[in-house]
Amino acid sequence: MAFDVPALRKEFPTLQREIDGHRLVYLDSGASSQTPRVVLDAMDRYYSWSRSNVHRGVYQLAEEATDLYEGARAKLATFLDADPRGVVFTKNATEGCNLVAYSWVRRQLGPGDALLTTVMEHHANHVPFTTAANELGFEVRHVPLTDDGQLDLDAARELVADGKVRFLAAVHVSNVLGTINDVAELAGVVREANPDAKVHIDGAQAVPHLPVSFRELDVDFYAITGHKMLGPTGIGALIARPELLESMEPFLTGGDMIRDVTLEGATWNDIPHKFEAGTPMIAEAAGLGAAVDLLTDLGMDAVREHEVDMAAGLLDAVGGIDGVTIHGPSDPALRGAAVSFAVDGVHPHDVGAMLGSKGVCVRVGHHCTKPLMRCLGLTATARASAYVYNDRDDLEPLVDGIEAAKTFFAR
């Protein structure tokens, strides 16, 4: 591991907290990550030194704010190996998925067309498209899972064989199973059957944890969210091919995204501004820029290496408990460090509450993936998800808490 976890952990204020005398063990980064001081400082610098609106200001504060905002866009573009003209800031990944649903899917797909997605999508990458399908009359098809929680690419090949699939929406890394999908290959399957098909990937759980190159993935749209990648709340981004953005009608309209407005109508600003209506998330962009700097400093290869180690540790430690079943791939190399599990005879809520009382934070519930839960015959799971500030010292409190829940709730 190339970075020093205990030293890094010191940079995250909330992690210094105790809960009822227990050290806080934060294993819910899949829901939202902790925020390091450098990110808070970057936002504070904006608020305390350059506080003003961006674009078109003729005074120094406004120039600085614009530089911060556009500078963050450039940083994010470099981090994801994308063209800054294709980086649209959104409030979260969900807005990015909706942008694609409104500005591309709803304007392109209709009766006779099909959209391909998977059974493991987060609601963010599912509901915008099924809602559109129900209103506009196109078909939705679902790539099923193999037994070990991978996407079934053979089934996908059959699903696209009739050439009707014009759009793919798929998740890069599952927030429940941890599965890392080979989205480039899946995109290839879709494009082989229909070279004009467009591909949208939900990268909310990928970008925080793996090196991602938008150019290499060679997809059309890619949604991310800041609060899961050490950044602030209230910001995300949609990465897209610039020429595709140029051809699309805007989604949100209003100030800043226009070229000209008359009483009768409007013409649009250049991309990416065409898709950013109203006053943007200026402080949040500055914060996200700082988060990207930190991740770059840590090195995404090192982050990934650390997480393979944490995934292995979680699978061993939690999977080793009597009566515990783990969902998702058993090979750490095929997955992220978000590990969902079931404890025989103890409801996930009770597991989570017991862990919470011991300062161990995990998420319980359907994780915004109800269709996947139904596929797996589950209603809820408990999920421990690790990130750069976790290390193997965090496993013991987790295991102890699960054992305590078993004892406490034994019927």
Partner: protein
Amino acid sequence: MSLEDMYQEIILDHYRKPLNRAPSLEDEAVAVHHSNPLCGDEMDLRLRVVDDAVDAVVFDGEGCSISQAAASAMTDAVIGRDLKDALDLTEDFRRMMHGDEPARADDLKDGVAFQGVAKFPVRVKCALLGWMALKDAIETYERGASAHTVTHEE
């Protein structure tokens, strides 16, 4: 926040040995199915009415300790009460879950043990699941229907 604030022994007892937990009920008047998709709790509740009173009520389903125990304690508190009174008691429990002192603490029986749950907003809906199913069953009965399915979140 100690876990014991919420999981009193009395709650665990109901959880481990639930009262009136059964998949069917003879001469049932109404069956309702309630679920809380946000937690994945599912509950079937069956009600038998005699002389406009709760003659019998059983529940079945899946859920956390709080939802199961609360349903168990609920059945014990409402059997024998006339329908209007059972609805009134339901309202008292609901208010308690939102932080009020219960007006009918004695009538709630073991239900009062759930007062501590009010401090854990995310679990309030678990405690309410059985009570809300009861309320729906009574209202369904009063509408003259015999079955109802509700997917809800308090």
